[in-house]
Amino acid sequence: MYPGLLDLYGDSGNVEALRYRCAVRGIDLEVFTHELGDEKRADIADMDIIYLGGGADYEQQQLAEDLISYRKELSDAHKNGTFMLMICGGYQLMGKYYKDSNDKKIDGLGLFEYYTEASTDKRDRCIGNIVVEAELDGKKYKVIGFENHGGQTFGSDKPFGRTLCGNGNVRGGEYEGYMEERVIATYLHGPLLSKNPLLTDYIISKCTGIEQLKKLDDSLEERCRDILLKRLLK
């Protein structure tokens, strides 16, 4: 949703990563987009996955109202098991509220209990490389990304992962994001799915119901991860 507005840090790359890893396995993936001002979609609850990226404060304000008009559809989708992937701004807007750096409070969708408050000092942001350890179907996986957020998120009772390097939900925090089996809400840009192929496959598995996905040659991705993990976790 809102790829035009919520695409600040290369977040559209997440869709490209899903598309790529589906295509090489012969899995059909059809991408629909909803932009601000588009006619209302009736079929939100029929999607396998709903994706929201991150945007600037100004853009998040612009679309908040439109997004709220989808509260029921998104809530139904969540209940029906549609996978929800939400990065940064998308993550914040699914919580109870978001108070931005201009001290302006935006109501969130309230799908989850967490809430976010940003410092009014615009320079007070968590910025940098980040590694969190998440659990995907019981297996630990180091998820690499880049965080850049002014908001501090409180009340996430089911975090996406434990912060190994970087901040996470709050400055100097121990945990990052919010996760359910079919929900990943996180501050990680990168784009997230380009840096973490197993996470991408986890999502594809959940969306298609295919438990054993065909293995791909991930040597470039793995080498990229090795170098970064070695540098960031020393």
């Binding site: 035009g4 507005l5 695409d7 600040l8 840090y9 290369g10 977040d11 559209s12 790359g13 490209e16 990563a17 790529y20 001002g37 600037a56 404060d57 100004y58 612009q62 615009k122 910025i127 940098g128 490389n129 880049f146 850049n148 840009h189 990168g190 784009p191 380009s194 040659d217 470039l220 991705e221 080498r223 990229c224 170098i227």
Partner: protein, 445 residues
């Protein structure tokens, strides 16, 4: 306590001497030293000549260098001061002024032509009187360093509300046209629709919505990224008549026309033509003869990793700096325009000056990648750019990541023919050095 001007100037001059004694570049340190002592140190300088500044995300250095060349070629011109090496923050410009001022902080020159970082326009021209400001464009650039584009635009906009500088603005960038304060007349420049223009947005762009009424902007065409003939269907924002428009672009003969006069240029990339249009407009504000302008267009060469050519006996490589997606997309446009086979070298670093976040590479459009037989990637993030290119659908077998630059240079030159290279900010000088080392070693054999 504030130190008197004379003391500050003396301290700064000493810092510059110290730099040179220890063999360090004095391009930034002396200014930084003064800034540390006194944040308003720029107040020490007095300039008695016109100050022309160039700002915007891409093209500042080239545009500034053109203007320097043109002003320097004026018959009675004795001294034009310019930060040619791109030290464009307050500390860099402070260092430049320190170098040229007398012990009272006075600067005697005919023109000051300065490249200024977007975020530093208000800081610097709080103290120096600005006569002309050229604004080229606003793209997303090193977001983790510069903040959101919108914040930057607002900063410049706020400054301009209280400035009486004459404005030279890009008529085809919705992020720039809005800078003209209500009731003021700006000097707009433009380039007519060129053969590579598209009906749909082809590369990631900024400013999709009207800044005044928030309606989605409509485009007659896009030249590149979000630069094109735009208009707000609701409030009419964007209805401006350019004072300068480059017309009759002839890529085969590297020439074009402005106001009926013919010009020739070495560089004909669409983004470059916009820079030239800006240069012409600014120069004409100072009644400079078209012949002098054309001389600069014809001769100008930047050998600093911006469209720089490296040759071996059997290969030719064009290196171009790219600090952001738009810069990289420009080089890819040139690569795709080339009819034969070619190879690409992409050098990506993530040092502090680059911005630590490399996610911007995902805003580069690799979907068209005509006749590219091999991609070599290098730099501290060689594998990130390799993965990026792989996910665009390019055959991973043809991607060779080599973090070491000398090895990467040898790899790209292992075959002959046409090559293109893209390097980001801190990567560009090491890349030039590695390419030169390779070529020198090869010639010695």
């Amino acid at each position: 306590m504030k130190l008197p001007k004379l003391v500050l100037i003396a301290v700064g001059k000493l810092a510059a001497v110290a730099c040179r004694l220890v063999g360090r570049d004095a391009g930034n340190f002396p200014g930084l030293a003064l800034w540390t002592i006194d944040k308003s140190f720029l107040r020490c300088f007095s300039v008695d000549c016109p100050v022309i500044a160039v700002t915007g995300t891409n093209g500042k250095t080239s545009t500034t260098n053109y203007l320097n060349k043109i002003f320097s070629s004026l018959p009675n011109e004795k001294c034009v001061i310019t930060n040619m090496q791109g030290n464009n923050l307050d500390t860099g410009i402070g260092s430049l002024l320190l170098h040229h001022c007398d012990m009272h902080g006075r600067i005697h020159a005919d023109h000051l032509v300065l490249e200024v970082d977007e975020s530093h326009v208000p800081v610097i021209f709080k103290y120096l009187k600005l006569e002309t400001l050229v604004v080229l464009n606003f793209f997303r650039d090193q977001l983790d360093r510069n903040g959101e584009v919108e914040t930057l635009i607002l900063k410049v906009q706020k400054f301009l509300e209280h400035s009486d500088a004459q404005l030279v603005l890009n008529a085809d960038d919705p992020n720039v046209v809005r800078l003209c304060p209500k009731g003021k007349k700006a000097h707009f420049f433009s380039v007519e629709k060129y053969e590579g223009a598209t009906d749909e947005l082809y590369e990631a762009g900024e400013g999709k919505f009207c800044p005044f009424c928030a309606a989605a902007l409509e485009y007659e065409y896009y030249q590149y990224s979000h630069i094109g003939r735009f208009r707000c269907p609701r409030c009419g924002y964007g209805d401006v008549t350019p004072e300068t428009q480059i017309k009759d672009i002839d890529f085969d003969n590297s020439c074009f026309k402005i106001n009926g006069e013919a010009f020739t240029s070495k560089y004909m990339g669409i983004y470059h033509l916009y820079n030239l249009s800006a240069v012409y407009t600014a120069a004409k504000l100072y009644n400079i003869d078209s012949k002098l302008i054309n001389d600069a267009f014809e001769d100008f060469q930047v050998n600093n990793g911006r469209m720089e050519v490296f040759r071996t006996s059997d290969a030719e490589l064009l290196l171009n700096l790219a600090k952001n997606p738009v810069g990289a997309n420009m080089t890819l446009r040139l690569l795709n325009q080339y009819k034969g086979e070619e190879q690409l070298l992409f050098v990506l670093n993530d040092n502090v000056a680059d911005g630590l976040d490399v996610s911007w590479i995902w805003d580069i459009n690799f979907s068209i990648f005509n006749n590219v037989t091999k991609v070599v990637t290098s730099g501290t993030r060689a594998y990130d750019i390799a993965v990026r290119i792989k996910y665009s659908g390019y055959d991973a077998q043809k991607i060779v990541p080599i973090p070491d630059l000398d090895a990467a240079a040898a790899e790209i030159f292992s075959t002959g023919g046409r090559k293109f290279a893209i390097a980001n900010y801190t990567a560009v000088q090491p890349t030039r050095a590695a390419l030169t080392r390779y070529i020198t070693a090869k010639e010695a054999h």
